[in-house]
Symmetry: C3
Subunit: 319 residues, 3 copies
């Protein structure tokens, strides 16, 4: 460990996990440990701008079976800002097309002495399966509609940065809840830290059954709007839908888009978030996306800090 | 800034631009500033062979919307030889296919604290639009048929390296002028530094209107050949042409290919250049491409030096 | 050369080659030199886990004209663990599609001051052609069905690691010999170091003509099994076969798959190897692939060490 890393100190002893598979299983102290570490990284690296080589000599691998640019790039940059090497393992050109099993591919990557495997896969549970078969760290970068824990963490970090605490805040997740792994990770993390969560959208995309997770279910954005401290506007994932869950984009925007008129009826200090990429004019109008309450680009910057924190924490176990 | 960078000294105070969008707007002192800096980098890094980490901790991003290997690789290597990290943002797998606007994609990249965005796009003016919307540096790596400023700079650097100065030289650009951003960048830079420029090719690819830019227009290579100090043989871009601008490749080669017979009628110290990739037997014959007057591979090496210089100059502003 | 590199010492003076094109032309001392160097790298880097920056400031380029993930990733990681930069030159997006010749592409890469070019190509002899036209080092990462020398070396390194020496061992290569460059590289290297080599498979994939290379030809795995110290189970390359060389996969597995029943009739200390990616249930059953005699994942780790050794040896010539 070099001089800079020594200055940053050892990884917090509270954190014991070798993998980050979901937020559902994390305790409040564990969540706060990641958030505090991310905040320290952000400060120590001048807003994620400079390097802090605490992972020099380590290697991370991005194994993405779904298209991704921003999450993959964010993980790569986070790894490199910590001094690690990263390799990309593109699914299309990989040996899987030659009949190799998924676990064999992962074991081969591990045999090249990779320290952390960042995986995105269309099948829920894939990261769990890998974590049971590998010695290296496994980080879930999205598994189907199950979870996307670093997205949940960066959303929560952004709220906490602006409000100090999650305790007692009302956070609404608006839109395509049914297909959203981001919604699930947000729900588990937000509730564990004391926020009240509302899921809101058309009935075809938001089931009453979500009440069993301890969240409020709403179908009218206008009704819940005055109570909300944070709106997280999920994107309408046209590319994931096989049926048409609402009559038209115009109808969706009429009922659920955050626009100037709705802003006038919201709390003045409401935070407007979106996991992106945003569809301007669908879930959000340009004046709101670029307005003073929007923290959408803060989320991107905090994504780097959160991923630095997670990479450091999980690879510091068992050393 | 580390010891090696300190030895190289601060960026020249003459340079004030945060972006490199074109050569048209550069003054002669600015052009010479880039060329001098590139020459210093080439010397200090033993012909671009070794590293000079003046950009340690900085990050560049290649955002290429057109296929490119050599320009992209050249920018990546230049960045890494200066100690920067680079990320590739492939257009095909990016969020643009999910409905995100072009500027939102770029702002997201910037939010990951990228210091310089190197952009290639089929639409002229794209880098200008980005530069008006971003705080990070924007470098044009080719925008449609408009400009390709680092290609112009590396061509000019190569001539200057062999002749000391551009003043009074006659430089002919031969071939597909109509589709060539390289031609436009060469014209602006060469003229600003005192060269006489001729554009030469079939009338379908070279318009009389070019005279309004202060260049000589010629249709016969054989007529202008004895006067030329430099020939820059642009490639016939078969992949860009939607109509057939000349009867046959054989006819084109007969009139415009640089071959042994034409070399015999040229100045003995003529410089033969080509931006590549070359079509052997079309715009140039193998004996000329590999002959003693060819500086084609010097251009590639100088491309690295020019890109190091540009990356350093634009990212050193406002620190 | 920095302090760490100095500790590792200079490259062995016995090695004089600037390229690694095949194993056929290597002498036994040369083979042992690579293997010893690889073993030293493996030890010095804690099983290829940490870095040993003996190639800082150097650049390697992967020029792959056939799909590959594991070989390409292995070469990239090897280069980076030695402190070198690596660039990927994807064939599909390269200038070859613009009509550039193969050698011009390679010369352009070299002009960017690349120190080692790692090439995979469907045509046998391609690396030889490049080595005759370039000043930089050329490393063959597989040329058609000719050779794949680093695969041969990593296989041999793995056997030597477990048995101390190759002298007098009986090694059977089983399966698709006709299409296998791995088989050819293994044969040359194994025989040179004193092993007895058997090639075994269906008559459609194993010709009697192989006897002229000094190897034993067998068609029944069961007959040779009791004599074997090592089995290297080549994969059935369904993707390379244009005709069907055996009646069914089930028939192939019945005759040539290594399974529990055959293990019972093999020497107790037999080594089970496979170049991967493996087809579970075709050439090997899961219990054997994951069993105590399998060294398949050791091969992957040793691949890193071998590639570090080769990159260092070939780029250390003529300094």
């Amino acid at each position: 460990m070099n001089a800079v890393a020594a200055d940053f100190g050892p990884a917090p002893s509270l954190w014991k996990r070798r993998h980050l598979l979901d937020l559902e299983s994390l305790s409040a102290p564990e969540l706060l440990c990641v958030l505090d570490t991310a905040a320290r990284f952000k400060q120590a690296t001048n807003g994620c701008r400079s390097k802090l080589p605490v992972l020099t000599g380590k290697t991370t691998c991005n194994l993405f079976f779904e298209n991704s640019t921003r999450t993959r790039t964010s993980f790569s940059l986070a790894a490199r800002r910590l001094g690690a090497d990263t390799v990309e393992f593109a699914a299309s050109s990989s040996s899987l097309s030659k009949g190799e099993t998924f676990i064999d591919t992962a074991k081969n990557i591990q045999a090249m002495n990779v320290d952390a495997l960042v995986i995105r896969h269309v099948s829920p549970g894939t990261p769990h399966i890998l974590s049971n078969n590998l010695q290296c760290s496994v980080i879930n970068a999205g598994d189907g509609a199950h979870e996307h824990p670093t997205q949940g963490l960066l959303d929560i970090m952004t709220i906490r940065e602006h409000r100090g605490s999650l305790e007692g805040l009302t956070v609404a997740l608006v839109g395509d809840i049914a297909h959203s792994r981001t919604a699930r990770s947000n729900i588990w993390g937000l509730k564990r830290l004391g926020a009240h969560v509302i899921v809101c959208g058309p009935a075809t995309l938001v089931s009453r059954a979500w009440e069993s997770f301890g969240v409020e279910v709403a179908y009218s954005l206008d009704e819940i709007l005055p109570r909300c401290d944070v709106l997280n506007l999920l994107r309408v994932q046209f590319e994931r839908q096989t049926t048409r869950p609402f009559p038209s984009v115009r109808e969706y925007a009429l009922l659920y888009a955050m626009n100037r008129e709705r802003m006038a009826r919201a709390k003045p200090n409401i935070l407007i978030m979106a996991p992106g990429p945003i569809n301007r004019g669908v879930e959000i109008t340009p004046d709101v996306a670029d307005g003073p309450q929007s923290v959408i680009l803060d989320q991107v910057t905090n994504g780097l800090a959160v991923r630095m924190a997670v990479l450091w924490l999980v690879t510091s176990q068992g050393e």
